[in-house]
Amino acid sequence: MATHNIDLEKTSVRDINQALHELNGTEDRSEWRITNSKGRHAIAVGIDAPLSVNIEGHVGYYCAGMNKHATVTVNGNCGPGVAENMMSGMVRVTGSASQYAGATAHGGLLIIEGDASSRCGISMKGVDIVVNGSVGHMSAFMAQSGRLVICGDAGDALGDSLYEARIYVRGKVVGLGADCIEKPIEDKHRAELKQLLDKAGITDCDAAEFRRYGSARKLYNFNIDNMDAY
Protein backbone atom coordinates (compact mmCIF):
# COMPACT_ATOMS: atom_id res chain seq x y z
CA MET A 1 0.00 0.00 0.00
CA ALA A 2 1.34 3.42 -0.93
CA THR A 3 2.33 5.72 1.89
CA HIS A 4 0.88 9.24 1.91
CA ASN A 5 3.78 11.63 2.47
CA ILE A 6 2.85 14.94 4.07
CA ASP A 7 5.34 17.79 4.54
CA LEU A 8 4.06 20.24 7.16
CA GLU A 9 6.17 23.02 5.59
CA LYS A 10 3.86 22.65 2.55
CA THR A 11 0.57 21.40 4.03
CA SER A 12 -1.09 22.99 7.07
CA VAL A 13 -1.92 20.96 10.20
CA ARG A 14 -5.58 21.82 9.60
CA ASP A 15 -5.42 20.34 6.09
CA ILE A 16 -3.66 17.11 7.10
CA ASN A 17 -6.04 16.64 10.03
CA GLN A 18 -8.99 17.21 7.69
CA ALA A 19 -7.58 14.61 5.26
CA LEU A 20 -7.32 12.10 8.12
CA HIS A 21 -10.84 12.92 9.32
CA GLU A 22 -12.23 12.21 5.84
CA LEU A 23 -11.46 8.54 6.63
CA ASN A 24 -13.17 8.55 10.04
CA GLY A 25 -15.65 5.73 10.49
CA THR A 26 -14.03 3.63 7.73
CA GLU A 27 -11.84 0.53 7.92
CA ASP A 28 -9.09 2.30 5.97
CA ARG A 29 -5.65 1.03 6.97
CA SER A 30 -3.54 3.42 4.89
CA GLU A 31 -0.13 4.65 6.00
CA TRP A 32 0.70 8.30 6.50
CA ARG A 33 4.14 9.80 6.98
CA ILE A 34 4.31 13.36 8.31
CA THR A 35 7.57 15.32 8.12
CA ASN A 36 8.71 18.75 9.33
CA SER A 37 6.50 18.60 12.42
CA LYS A 38 8.82 21.14 14.13
CA GLY A 39 6.88 21.26 17.37
CA ARG A 40 3.55 22.10 15.75
CA HIS A 41 0.43 21.59 17.88
CA ALA A 42 -2.54 19.23 17.48
CA ILE A 43 -1.06 16.98 14.77
CA ALA A 44 -3.14 13.84 14.01
CA VAL A 45 -5.88 14.76 16.47
CA GLY A 46 -9.32 13.18 16.25
CA ILE A 47 -8.60 10.16 14.04
CA ASP A 48 -11.32 7.45 14.03
CA ALA A 49 -9.98 4.77 11.65
CA PRO A 50 -7.28 2.05 11.84
CA LEU A 51 -4.70 4.22 10.03
CA SER A 52 -0.99 4.12 10.63
CA VAL A 53 0.54 7.57 11.10
CA ASN A 54 4.28 8.14 11.46
CA ILE A 55 5.45 11.58 12.49
CA GLU A 56 9.15 12.26 11.86
CA GLY A 57 10.30 14.82 14.44
CA HIS A 58 9.21 16.57 17.63
CA VAL A 59 5.59 17.65 18.06
CA GLY A 60 3.86 20.30 20.19
CA TYR A 61 0.69 20.13 22.29
CA TYR A 62 -2.07 17.47 22.13
CA CYS A 63 -0.60 15.23 19.43
CA ALA A 64 -2.91 12.26 18.64
CA GLY A 65 -5.55 13.56 21.05
CA MET A 66 -8.90 11.70 21.06
CA ASN A 67 -7.36 8.94 18.97
CA LYS A 68 -9.64 6.03 18.03
CA HIS A 69 -8.30 2.86 16.33
CA ALA A 70 -5.22 4.50 14.73
CA THR A 71 -1.58 3.70 15.42
CA VAL A 72 0.33 6.98 15.74
CA THR A 73 4.10 6.97 16.17
CA VAL A 74 6.04 10.11 17.05
CA ASN A 75 9.72 9.72 16.21
CA GLY A 76 10.78 12.46 18.59
CA ASN A 77 9.58 14.27 21.71
CA CYS A 78 6.05 15.46 22.49
CA GLY A 79 4.80 18.65 24.06
CA PRO A 80 2.03 18.63 26.68
CA GLY A 81 -1.06 16.42 26.39
CA VAL A 82 0.00 13.67 23.97
CA ALA A 83 -2.86 11.17 23.41
CA GLU A 84 -5.13 13.24 25.63
CA ASN A 85 -8.54 11.56 25.85
CA MET A 86 -7.47 8.67 23.61
CA MET A 87 -10.30 6.13 23.19
CA SER A 88 -8.50 3.21 21.52
CA GLY A 89 -5.59 2.41 19.23
CA MET A 90 -1.95 2.96 20.03
CA VAL A 91 0.32 5.97 20.37
CA ARG A 92 4.07 5.47 20.58
CA VAL A 93 6.56 8.22 21.41
CA THR A 94 10.18 7.30 20.75
CA GLY A 95 11.48 10.28 22.75
CA SER A 96 10.14 11.91 25.90
CA ALA A 97 6.75 13.46 26.60
CA SER A 98 5.91 16.67 28.44
CA GLN A 99 3.14 17.22 31.00
CA TYR A 100 -0.12 15.28 31.26
CA ALA A 101 0.60 12.57 28.71
CA GLY A 102 -2.49 10.39 28.25
CA ALA A 103 -4.66 12.69 30.37
CA THR A 104 -8.28 11.51 30.74
CA ALA A 105 -7.72 8.77 28.13
CA HIS A 106 -10.40 6.06 28.08
CA GLY A 107 -8.65 3.26 26.21
CA GLY A 108 -5.86 2.15 23.93
CA LEU A 109 -2.15 1.97 24.68
CA LEU A 110 0.26 4.89 25.08
CA ILE A 111 3.96 3.99 25.00
CA ILE A 112 6.62 6.52 25.91
CA GLU A 113 10.10 5.18 25.27
CA GLY A 114 11.80 8.08 27.08
CA ASP A 115 10.55 9.94 30.16
CA ALA A 116 7.18 11.53 30.82
CA SER A 117 7.12 14.69 32.92
CA SER A 118 4.54 15.77 35.50
CA ARG A 119 0.91 14.61 35.66
CA CYS A 120 1.36 11.61 33.35
CA GLY A 121 -1.96 9.75 33.20
CA ILE A 122 -3.87 12.40 35.14
CA SER A 123 -7.53 11.34 35.44
CA MET A 124 -6.92 8.33 33.16
CA LYS A 125 -10.15 6.41 32.59
CA GLY A 126 -9.12 3.08 31.12
CA VAL A 127 -6.02 3.72 29.00
CA ASP A 128 -2.85 1.68 29.47
CA ILE A 129 0.31 3.77 29.65
CA VAL A 130 3.80 2.24 29.55
CA VAL A 131 6.72 4.57 30.23
CA ASN A 132 10.14 3.10 29.62
CA GLY A 133 11.81 5.94 31.56
CA SER A 134 10.63 7.92 34.58
CA VAL A 135 7.56 10.06 35.28
CA GLY A 136 7.31 13.44 37.03
CA HIS A 137 5.26 14.55 40.02
CA MET A 138 1.47 14.09 40.38
CA SER A 139 1.34 11.24 37.90
CA ALA A 140 -1.91 9.24 37.88
CA PHE A 141 -3.61 12.02 39.84
CA MET A 142 -7.30 11.02 40.25
CA ALA A 143 -6.71 8.10 37.89
CA GLN A 144 -9.94 6.15 37.60
CA SER A 145 -9.10 3.00 35.68
CA GLY A 146 -6.46 1.53 33.40
CA ARG A 147 -2.84 0.67 34.10
CA LEU A 148 0.23 2.92 34.37
CA VAL A 149 3.55 1.09 34.05
CA ILE A 150 6.69 3.01 34.96
CA CYS A 151 9.97 1.23 34.20
CA GLY A 152 12.04 4.00 35.80
CA ASP A 153 11.27 6.19 38.81
CA ALA A 154 8.15 8.12 39.82
CA GLY A 155 8.10 11.71 41.11
CA ASP A 156 6.33 13.02 44.19
CA ALA A 157 2.61 12.50 44.97
CA LEU A 158 2.18 9.45 42.75
CA GLY A 159 -1.45 8.37 42.46
CA ASP A 160 -2.88 11.18 44.54
CA SER A 161 -6.65 10.75 45.08
CA LEU A 162 -6.53 7.54 43.09
CA TYR A 163 -9.64 5.58 42.15
CA GLU A 164 -9.25 2.14 40.53
CA ALA A 165 -6.27 2.55 38.18
CA ARG A 166 -3.35 0.19 38.86
CA ILE A 167 0.19 1.54 38.97
CA TYR A 168 3.37 -0.50 38.53
CA VAL A 169 6.77 1.06 39.28
CA ARG A 170 10.14 -0.59 38.77
CA GLY A 171 12.34 2.15 40.25
CA LYS A 172 12.08 4.52 43.18
CA VAL A 173 8.99 6.48 44.15
CA VAL A 174 9.73 9.92 45.59
CA GLY A 175 6.40 9.97 47.42
CA LEU A 176 2.86 8.63 47.30
CA GLY A 177 -0.14 10.95 47.07
CA ALA A 178 -3.16 10.90 49.36
CA ASP A 179 -4.93 7.52 49.47
CA CYS A 180 -2.31 5.80 47.26
CA ILE A 181 -0.68 2.77 48.88
CA GLU A 182 1.61 -0.06 47.92
CA LYS A 183 -0.24 -3.33 47.45
CA PRO A 184 1.01 -6.89 47.20
CA ILE A 185 1.87 -8.01 43.71
CA GLU A 186 0.40 -11.40 42.82
CA ASP A 187 0.87 -13.70 39.87
CA LYS A 188 -2.15 -12.28 38.07
CA HIS A 189 -0.61 -8.79 38.35
CA ARG A 190 2.75 -10.00 37.05
CA ALA A 191 0.93 -11.66 34.18
CA GLU A 192 -0.89 -8.46 33.16
CA LEU A 193 2.34 -6.51 33.61
CA LYS A 194 4.25 -8.91 31.35
CA GLN A 195 1.50 -8.63 28.76
CA LEU A 196 1.73 -4.82 28.83
CA LEU A 197 5.54 -4.83 28.58
CA ASP A 198 5.33 -7.28 25.67
CA LYS A 199 2.74 -5.14 23.89
CA ALA A 200 4.98 -2.11 24.37
CA GLY A 201 7.97 -4.01 23.01
CA ILE A 202 9.99 -3.53 26.20
CA THR A 203 12.25 -6.56 26.54
CA ASP A 204 14.82 -5.49 29.15
CA CYS A 205 12.45 -5.24 32.15
CA ASP A 206 11.39 -8.23 34.19
CA ALA A 207 7.84 -8.10 35.58
CA ALA A 208 9.24 -9.46 38.86
CA GLU A 209 11.14 -6.20 39.44
CA PHE A 210 8.02 -4.03 39.81
CA ARG A 211 6.00 -2.90 42.81
CA ARG A 212 2.26 -2.35 42.62
CA TYR A 213 0.41 0.69 43.90
CA GLY A 214 -3.31 1.31 44.13
CA SER A 215 -6.07 3.08 45.99
CA ALA A 216 -6.61 2.57 49.73
CA ARG A 217 -10.25 3.41 48.89
CA LYS A 218 -10.57 5.63 51.96
CA LEU A 219 -10.99 8.88 50.09
CA TYR A 220 -13.47 8.41 47.34
CA ASN A 221 -16.26 6.55 49.11
CA PHE A 222 -18.58 8.20 51.56
CA ASN A 223 -17.63 6.90 54.98
CA ILE A 224 -20.08 7.32 57.86
CA ASP A 225 -17.17 7.54 60.28
CA ASN A 226 -16.05 10.73 58.56
CA MET A 227 -19.45 12.39 58.96
CA ASP A 228 -18.02 15.04 61.29
CA ALA A 229 -15.73 16.22 58.52
CA TYR A 230 -18.59 17.23 56.20
Binding site: K38, Y61, N77, Q99, G136, H137
Partner: protein, 297 residues
Protein backbone atom coordinates in the same frame (compact mmCIF):
# COMPACT_ATOMS: atom_id res chain seq x y z
CA UNK B 1 -0.16 32.91 29.07
CA UNK B 2 3.08 34.39 27.78
CA UNK B 3 5.99 33.20 25.68
CA UNK B 4 9.62 33.19 26.71
CA UNK B 5 12.69 32.56 24.58
CA UNK B 6 16.40 32.63 25.37
CA UNK B 7 19.43 32.03 23.17
CA UNK B 8 23.03 31.66 24.30
CA UNK B 9 25.67 31.57 21.56
CA UNK B 10 28.51 29.05 21.76
CA UNK B 11 30.03 29.98 18.40
CA UNK B 12 30.97 33.18 16.59
CA UNK B 13 28.61 32.27 13.77
CA UNK B 14 25.64 32.33 16.14
CA UNK B 15 26.89 35.54 17.82
CA UNK B 16 27.00 37.24 14.41
CA UNK B 17 23.33 36.42 13.78
CA UNK B 18 22.04 36.38 17.34
CA UNK B 19 19.31 38.96 16.74
CA UNK B 20 18.02 37.21 13.61
CA UNK B 21 17.80 33.88 15.44
CA UNK B 22 16.13 35.40 18.50
CA UNK B 23 13.63 37.25 16.31
CA UNK B 24 12.59 34.01 14.60
CA UNK B 25 12.20 32.34 17.99
CA UNK B 26 10.08 35.13 19.44
CA UNK B 27 7.79 35.31 16.39
CA UNK B 28 6.97 31.63 17.01
CA UNK B 29 5.69 32.68 20.46
CA UNK B 30 3.20 35.24 19.07
CA UNK B 31 0.23 32.95 19.79
CA UNK B 32 1.26 32.79 23.45
CA UNK B 33 0.95 36.58 23.72
CA UNK B 34 0.75 39.57 21.43
CA UNK B 35 -0.08 42.39 23.87
CA UNK B 36 3.53 43.45 24.08
CA UNK B 37 6.98 42.10 23.37
CA UNK B 38 10.49 42.82 24.49
CA UNK B 39 14.04 41.61 24.27
CA UNK B 40 17.22 41.89 26.28
CA UNK B 41 20.43 41.56 24.28
CA UNK B 42 23.97 41.37 25.62
CA UNK B 43 26.36 43.00 23.15
CA UNK B 44 29.09 45.61 22.65
CA UNK B 45 30.39 45.69 26.25
CA UNK B 46 31.83 48.97 27.47
CA UNK B 47 34.71 49.48 29.90
CA UNK B 48 35.07 52.23 32.50
CA UNK B 49 31.57 53.39 31.59
CA UNK B 50 27.94 52.50 32.06
CA UNK B 51 25.49 51.69 29.31
CA UNK B 52 21.85 52.67 29.78
CA UNK B 53 18.87 51.82 27.60
CA UNK B 54 16.40 54.68 27.99
CA UNK B 55 12.82 54.60 26.73
CA UNK B 56 10.93 57.75 25.69
CA UNK B 57 7.13 58.07 25.44
CA UNK B 58 7.22 58.12 21.61
CA UNK B 59 9.42 58.17 18.51
CA UNK B 60 9.07 61.95 18.15
CA UNK B 61 10.85 62.55 21.45
CA UNK B 62 13.52 65.25 21.23
CA UNK B 63 16.67 63.83 22.81
CA UNK B 64 18.69 67.11 22.57
CA UNK B 65 17.72 68.39 26.01
CA UNK B 66 18.79 65.08 27.56
CA UNK B 67 22.11 65.10 25.74
CA UNK B 68 22.86 68.69 26.73
CA UNK B 69 21.77 68.09 30.29
CA UNK B 70 23.91 64.96 30.56
CA UNK B 71 26.99 66.70 29.10
CA UNK B 72 26.59 69.39 31.73
CA UNK B 73 25.92 66.90 34.52
CA UNK B 74 28.74 64.40 33.92
CA UNK B 75 31.20 66.79 32.29
CA UNK B 76 32.81 64.23 29.99
CA UNK B 77 32.30 62.44 26.70
CA UNK B 78 29.16 60.45 26.13
CA UNK B 79 27.64 58.45 23.32
CA UNK B 80 23.99 58.27 22.37
CA UNK B 81 22.47 55.95 19.78
CA UNK B 82 18.79 56.44 19.10
CA UNK B 83 16.68 53.43 18.04
CA UNK B 84 12.96 54.27 17.56
CA UNK B 85 11.77 55.58 20.96
CA UNK B 86 14.74 54.04 22.77
CA UNK B 87 18.26 55.40 23.15
CA UNK B 88 21.40 53.62 24.29
CA UNK B 89 23.64 55.95 26.30
CA UNK B 90 27.25 55.30 27.23
CA UNK B 91 28.33 57.50 30.13
CA UNK B 92 31.40 57.85 32.31
CA UNK B 93 29.64 58.03 35.64
CA UNK B 94 28.23 56.00 38.52
CA UNK B 95 24.81 54.39 37.99
CA UNK B 96 23.33 55.59 41.31
CA UNK B 97 24.13 59.26 40.64
CA UNK B 98 22.64 59.21 37.18
CA UNK B 99 19.44 57.41 38.25
CA UNK B 100 18.56 60.13 40.75
CA UNK B 101 19.36 62.80 38.17
CA UNK B 102 17.09 61.13 35.59
CA UNK B 103 14.14 60.86 37.98
CA UNK B 104 14.53 64.56 38.90
CA UNK B 105 15.05 66.07 35.45
CA UNK B 106 13.52 63.66 32.96
CA UNK B 107 10.65 61.86 34.72
CA UNK B 108 9.06 61.06 31.33
CA UNK B 109 11.98 58.77 30.47
CA UNK B 110 12.20 55.19 31.69
CA UNK B 111 15.56 53.48 32.23
CA UNK B 112 14.98 49.98 30.87
CA UNK B 113 18.43 48.64 31.70
CA UNK B 114 21.77 49.59 33.12
CA UNK B 115 25.13 47.85 33.06
CA UNK B 116 28.09 47.38 30.78
CA UNK B 117 26.60 44.97 28.25
CA UNK B 118 22.81 44.68 28.50
CA UNK B 119 20.30 46.54 26.31
CA UNK B 120 16.52 46.14 26.76
CA UNK B 121 14.00 47.05 24.06
CA UNK B 122 10.25 46.68 24.52
CA UNK B 123 6.95 47.99 23.27
CA UNK B 124 3.26 47.24 22.96
CA UNK B 125 2.08 45.11 20.05
CA UNK B 126 2.86 41.68 18.65
CA UNK B 127 6.45 40.42 18.49
CA UNK B 128 6.91 40.98 14.74
CA UNK B 129 6.09 44.69 15.03
CA UNK B 130 8.33 45.22 18.04
CA UNK B 131 11.23 43.26 16.50
CA UNK B 132 10.98 45.24 13.26
CA UNK B 133 10.70 48.56 15.09
CA UNK B 134 14.09 48.08 16.73
CA UNK B 135 15.69 46.14 13.81
CA UNK B 136 16.50 43.31 16.23
CA UNK B 137 17.43 41.00 13.34
CA UNK B 138 20.55 43.10 12.79
CA UNK B 139 21.80 42.71 16.38
CA UNK B 140 24.94 40.75 17.08
CA UNK B 141 25.66 39.61 20.62
CA UNK B 142 26.58 36.82 22.97
CA UNK B 143 23.13 36.00 24.37
CA UNK B 144 19.60 37.35 24.42
CA UNK B 145 16.17 36.82 25.98
CA UNK B 146 12.75 37.61 24.59
CA UNK B 147 9.19 37.76 25.88
CA UNK B 148 5.74 37.91 24.29
CA UNK B 149 3.07 38.98 26.75
CA UNK B 150 -0.56 38.01 27.17
CA UNK B 151 -1.58 40.27 30.05
CA UNK B 152 -3.56 38.50 32.76
CA UNK B 153 -3.14 40.49 35.96
CA UNK B 154 -2.24 44.09 35.09
CA UNK B 155 -2.54 46.64 32.30
CA UNK B 156 -1.04 46.54 28.81
CA UNK B 157 1.50 49.37 28.76
CA UNK B 158 5.12 49.67 27.73
CA UNK B 159 6.09 49.86 31.40
CA UNK B 160 4.28 46.58 32.09
CA UNK B 161 6.20 44.86 29.31
CA UNK B 162 9.03 42.43 29.91
CA UNK B 163 12.02 42.11 30.28
CA UNK B 164 12.33 43.82 33.66
CA UNK B 165 15.70 45.02 34.88
CA UNK B 166 16.82 43.39 38.09
CA UNK B 167 20.12 45.21 38.56
CA UNK B 168 23.34 45.90 36.70
CA UNK B 169 23.34 43.76 33.53
CA UNK B 170 20.50 41.64 34.94
CA UNK B 171 16.98 41.13 33.67
CA UNK B 172 14.03 38.82 34.07
CA UNK B 173 11.26 37.49 31.85
CA UNK B 174 8.34 35.59 33.34
CA UNK B 175 5.59 33.27 32.17
CA UNK B 176 3.02 32.75 34.90
CA UNK B 177 1.43 34.73 37.70
CA UNK B 178 2.46 35.41 41.28
CA UNK B 179 -0.17 35.37 44.01
CA UNK B 180 1.74 37.11 46.82
CA UNK B 181 3.17 40.00 44.82
CA UNK B 182 1.25 42.73 46.69
CA UNK B 183 2.68 41.89 50.10
CA UNK B 184 6.14 41.29 48.64
CA UNK B 185 6.02 44.66 46.88
CA UNK B 186 5.18 46.40 50.16
CA UNK B 187 8.05 44.67 51.93
CA UNK B 188 10.52 45.47 49.14
CA UNK B 189 9.39 49.11 48.94
CA UNK B 190 10.20 49.48 52.64
CA UNK B 191 13.68 48.25 51.80
CA UNK B 192 14.09 50.91 49.11
CA UNK B 193 13.21 49.04 45.91
CA UNK B 194 11.30 51.33 43.53
CA UNK B 195 8.47 49.88 41.44
CA UNK B 196 7.04 51.61 38.39
CA UNK B 197 3.93 49.43 37.94
CA UNK B 198 1.51 47.11 39.74
CA UNK B 199 2.86 44.17 37.69
CA UNK B 200 3.66 40.87 39.46
CA UNK B 201 6.73 40.08 37.35
CA UNK B 202 8.29 43.42 38.25
CA UNK B 203 8.04 42.28 41.89
CA UNK B 204 9.98 39.11 41.06
CA UNK B 205 12.63 41.27 39.39
CA UNK B 206 12.72 43.61 42.40
CA UNK B 207 12.94 40.64 44.75
CA UNK B 208 16.02 39.25 42.97
CA UNK B 209 17.57 42.74 42.86
CA UNK B 210 17.13 43.14 46.63
CA UNK B 211 18.54 39.67 47.39
CA UNK B 212 21.61 40.27 45.27
CA UNK B 213 22.14 43.73 46.76
CA UNK B 214 22.32 41.96 50.10
CA UNK B 215 25.08 39.75 48.79
CA UNK B 216 23.27 36.68 47.42
CA UNK B 217 24.68 35.12 44.27
CA UNK B 218 22.19 34.55 41.45
CA UNK B 219 21.75 30.91 42.47
CA UNK B 220 21.28 31.84 46.14
CA UNK B 221 18.70 34.47 45.22
CA UNK B 222 16.81 31.94 43.10
CA UNK B 223 16.95 29.30 45.84
CA UNK B 224 15.38 31.83 48.20
CA UNK B 225 12.83 32.85 45.55
CA UNK B 226 11.56 29.25 45.58
CA UNK B 227 10.59 29.77 49.23
CA UNK B 228 9.33 33.36 49.08
CA UNK B 229 7.53 33.62 45.73
CA UNK B 230 4.08 32.04 45.69
CA UNK B 231 2.52 31.33 42.32
CA UNK B 232 3.22 29.95 38.90
CA UNK B 233 6.37 30.80 37.07
CA UNK B 234 8.89 29.90 34.50
CA UNK B 235 11.61 32.55 34.77
CA UNK B 236 14.51 33.22 32.45
CA UNK B 237 17.08 35.52 34.00
CA UNK B 238 19.75 37.22 31.90
CA UNK B 239 23.16 37.95 33.39
CA UNK B 240 26.25 39.61 31.90
CA UNK B 241 27.77 36.24 31.06
CA UNK B 242 24.77 34.02 30.44
CA UNK B 243 21.31 33.13 31.57
CA UNK B 244 19.47 31.04 34.13
CA UNK B 245 16.11 29.24 34.02
CA UNK B 246 13.86 28.38 36.98
CA UNK B 247 10.40 26.80 37.14
CA UNK B 248 8.19 26.73 40.22
CA UNK B 249 7.78 23.38 42.04
CA UNK B 250 4.35 22.66 40.48
CA UNK B 251 5.74 23.43 37.01
CA UNK B 252 2.44 24.05 35.18
CA UNK B 253 4.07 26.69 33.01
CA UNK B 254 5.88 25.03 30.14
CA UNK B 255 9.57 25.19 29.32
CA UNK B 256 11.84 23.28 27.01
CA UNK B 257 15.60 23.51 26.59
CA UNK B 258 17.96 22.37 23.88
CA UNK B 259 21.68 22.40 23.28
CA UNK B 260 24.03 21.86 20.34
CA UNK B 261 27.74 22.63 19.87
CA UNK B 262 26.64 26.03 18.53
CA UNK B 263 24.04 27.23 21.04
CA UNK B 264 21.91 26.68 24.13
CA UNK B 265 18.27 27.70 23.88
CA UNK B 266 15.22 27.78 26.12
CA UNK B 267 11.64 28.48 25.14
CA UNK B 268 8.08 28.04 26.33
CA UNK B 269 7.52 25.63 23.45
CA UNK B 270 9.76 23.57 21.21
CA UNK B 271 8.49 25.25 18.04
CA UNK B 272 10.48 28.36 19.02
CA UNK B 273 13.62 26.21 19.14
CA UNK B 274 12.81 24.35 15.91
CA UNK B 275 13.73 27.48 13.90
CA UNK B 276 17.38 27.33 15.03
CA UNK B 277 20.08 25.77 12.85
CA UNK B 278 20.66 22.13 13.78
CA UNK B 279 17.59 21.97 16.05
CA UNK B 280 16.53 18.57 14.67
CA UNK B 281 19.65 16.99 16.13
CA UNK B 282 19.88 19.05 19.32
CA UNK B 283 19.85 17.45 22.73
CA UNK B 284 16.43 18.44 24.02
CA UNK B 285 14.89 18.24 27.50
CA UNK B 286 12.27 19.68 29.81
CA UNK B 287 13.77 21.52 32.80
CA UNK B 288 12.79 19.84 36.08
CA UNK B 289 10.66 21.73 38.63
CA UNK B 290 12.44 23.88 41.25
CA UNK B 291 15.85 23.27 39.70
CA UNK B 292 18.16 26.08 38.61
CA UNK B 293 19.74 25.74 35.18
CA UNK B 294 22.42 28.24 34.17
CA UNK B 295 24.91 28.86 31.39
CA UNK B 296 27.87 31.21 31.42
CA UNK B 297 30.43 32.33 28.89
Amino acid sequence: MCGIVGLFAKSEAIEAELGAHLAKMLIQMTERGSDSAGIAVYRNPVTDSIKLTVMAPDNAYDWHDLKNGLLEQIDSDMEMEINANHAVLILHTEPKDIYDWFFLHFPELHINSSGTTIEIYKDKGPPVNVLNRFKVSQFKGTHALGHSRMATESAVTIQHSHPFSTGQDLCLVHNGSLSNHNILREQLQKQGIVFRTDNDSEVAAGYLMQRMRQGDSMDEALERALKDLDGFYTFAIGTRDGFAVLRDPIACKPAVMAETDEWVAMASEYRAIAVLPGADNAECWEPAPAKIYSWNH
